[in-house]
């Protein structure tokens, strides 16, 4: 029993754990403080937003900021709901396609044998160090050459190859025993069936993780809207939010920016809470050699 206190992943509470709480709770509070702040800002009526001295917590919560935001449109006359719609469509398509693309590539790299396999995997591992902003210019030129400027696909295609995602899925698929796949093959299943009916269900946690990471990137992305797309009706919500805050010297803008920030944040949080156990499961196979 004396050992209980010093154990990793303890089953019950012990006084010796208090010192960790003592440090962790203030850290956690610091981390969520800005989020709590934005939630309160979003529900503040106009007079509370500009109260002096400002109060952290909202006194009379109101949905005024949200309904204002809902009715706004950009200076070019595109309504806010259009940006939101674009974001929802682009993000759902990106998440779905990334999962499919990554599952296929991960299956090949994990379960097939061919010459270039190890080389391909190390190229992908090298690409983990890839910093997308560094090559914004060549990317822009490629998008221009392939005719994707002012095309909705510019939101989707550049995000589909996700080196971290492929890395995690491949590592996770390595845990699926080859015997399972061999057995299915003996029963006459082809690769497509094996992938769909056996491998994908078994690696669902890893695919969920890829889905979350893609969601975070795609939902928060402004790159395509600010660089590749000039047609205002094709831009996304994150871009609208950033233009809203850049022009927030208008008095009503502060509350609306907070409301929009909250709308940006909530889907991220909900999806992560729903899938967090799957993410942790995937992460335990994230080892790199």
């Amino acid at each position: 029993m004396a050992f209980q206190g010093t154990k990793i992943n303890p089953k019950r509470f012990d006084k010796s754990q208090l010192k960790f709480y003592f440090f962790l709770i203030p850290m956690a509070l610091f981390m969520v403080l800005p989020v709590v702040y934005i939630i309160n800002q979003a529900f503040k009526p106009l007079d509370e937003l500009f109260m002096f001295p400002p109060r952290f917590f909202v006194i009379k919560p109101t949905f005024q900021n949200f309904s204002d935001l809902w009715r706004t449109s950009s200076t070019t006359g595109v309504p806010m709901t259009r940006y939101l719609f674009n974001s929802i469509v682009a993000t759902s398509l990106t998440v779905f396609l990334t999962i499919m693309v990554t599952a296929g590539a991960g299956y090949v790299l994990s379960k097939k044998t061919f010459k270039a396999k190890n080389w391909l995997f190390s190229v992908n591992q090298l690409a983990l160090m890839f910093v997308p902003i560094a090559v914004a210019i060549p990317r822009y030129l490629i998008i221009k050459q392939t005719g994707l400027t002012d095309n909705f696909l510019a939101h989707i295609l550049p995000a589909l190859a996700m080196p971290v995602g492929l890395f995690l899925v491949k590592q996770f698929m390595d845990q699926v025993p080859d015997a399972v796949i061999e057995a299915a093959r003996l029963d006459g299943a082809n690769d497509w069936q094996i992938l769909n009916k056996i491998v994908i269900p078994l690696v669902r946690p890893a695919l969920a993780t890829v889905g979350i990471l893609t969601f975070q990137v795609s939902w928060n992305a402004t790159e395509a809207s600010s660089l590749y797309i000039t047609n205002e009706t094709l831009k996304n919500f994150a871009f609208y939010l950033s233009s809203l805050t850049n022009a927030s010297n208008s008095i009503a803008g502060v509350g609306m920016a907070a409301a929009a920030g909250l709308i940006m944040f909530l889907p991220n949080l909900l999806i992560f809470i729903l899938l967090q156990s799957k993410v942790m499961n995937t992460m335990s196979h994230s080892g790199m050699k």
Binding site: M129, I133, A257
Partner: protein
């Protein structure tokens, strides 16, 4: 026995029949990823290297000029040498290794408590990493806003520490430090989750054995058991921390609202690329800076491999 042999034969036949099919399957399954990877990761990098050897203003055709861009960057570009390079090193050395150490430390402490409170606290600590750039800019800009409605200014005035609001985000003396705080705040990302999972999954018996062998305290436990048994996660976390630190360079511009940042106080290498590429349209020169950035990330990652790899 005969059954087993039959199975083996059947398997062998399947394999023979399937050679072409096998190749086609590999080809089609790999194709979408390979195509997108080439188009938006590999070719841009190659393109950047090629472009960096030219003068290119995006209107006329690129003009080959050898290593001139690199020579200019390292000898003539006063802003790069005086502000951008030191800023980038300061920012990424604090946010990279600092964030990495903090990630490990927090993950390790989280592993010492029970699962329910751990899940809640881990969620709180991971929160900043899921919110994305726009949100970060909105929150921190309103918190540090220079007028009296700025929350931090108002607090300081209320407590009587200052008499008139400080222009935090425009003042070179503050901007860099605020950027580092924000960078560290959002540094507990995917690497943090990986290390947390790694620590929780270390073999409990190892710890028991180690205590019998005479390990005396938590510190020795971490050094002799925890880190060695999860070094592959440590490596993954390190690479993610390095990439994250270089990738988050836009926050200076996001916070101050201008590129270049006030008196170049928060100018990092990524902002320098954008400044030359998208504002001055000196694409060749901007590409040379990009290549320098990629080399830096690669160099630091190599160092991480040296530290944590199996060999």
């Amino acid at each position: 026995m005969t059954q087993a042999r039959q199975l083996m034969n059947q398997l062998a036949r399947k394999k023979e029949n399937g050679t072409l099919g096998e190749w086609l399957a590999i080809f089609w399954l790999l194709l979408p990823y390979a195509l997108m990877f080439s188009l938006f990761v590999a070719i841009p990098v190659a393109f950047a290297i090629g472009l960096s050897l030219t003068y290119f203003n995006s209107i006329q055709l690129p003009e080959f000029q050898g290593l001139l861009n690199y020579i200019t960057l390292l000898t003539q570009d006063e802003i790069f040498l005086k502000y951008v390079l030191p800023n980038t090193f300061k920012y990424s050395l604090i946010v990279g290794p600092g964030g990495y150490f903090l990630s490990f430390f927090l993950a390790w402490m989280l592993a010492q408590i029970q699962v329910k409170p751990r899940t809640i606290l881990a969620l709180a600590i991971y929160t900043p990493s899921m919110v994305g750039g726009v949100f970060i800019a909105v929150v921190w800009r309103t918190l540090f806003s220079g007028n009296e409605a700025g929350y931090i200014n108002a607090l300081l005035i209320q407590w009587g520490w200052i008499t008139k609001p400080i222009q935090f985000l425009q003042d070179p003396a503050f901007l860099m430090n605020i950027m580092i705080v924000v960078g560290l705040w959002s540094a507990m990302g995917i690497g943090f989750l990986a290390m947390l999972a790694g620590i929780i999954n270390t073999n409990e018996e190892l710890y028991e054995a180690a205590y019998i062998d005479g390990i005396k305290n938590k510190f020795q436990e971490v050094i002799y058991i925890t880190i060695p048994s999860m070094h592959s996660q440590m490596l993954f976390g390190a690479v993610m921390a390095i990439v994250g630190a270089f990738n988050s360079g836009w926050i200076g511009v996001a916070l101050s609202g201008s590129n270049p940042t006030p008196q170049y106080a928060g100018q990092l290498i990524i902002n320098h690329i954008e400044d030359y590429g998208f504002q001055r349209y000196e694409m060749g020169y901007a590409a040379a800076i990009s290549v320098a950035l990629l080399l830096m990330v690669w160099g630091f990652s190599k160092l991480a491999y040296r530290l944590f790899s199996d060999r």
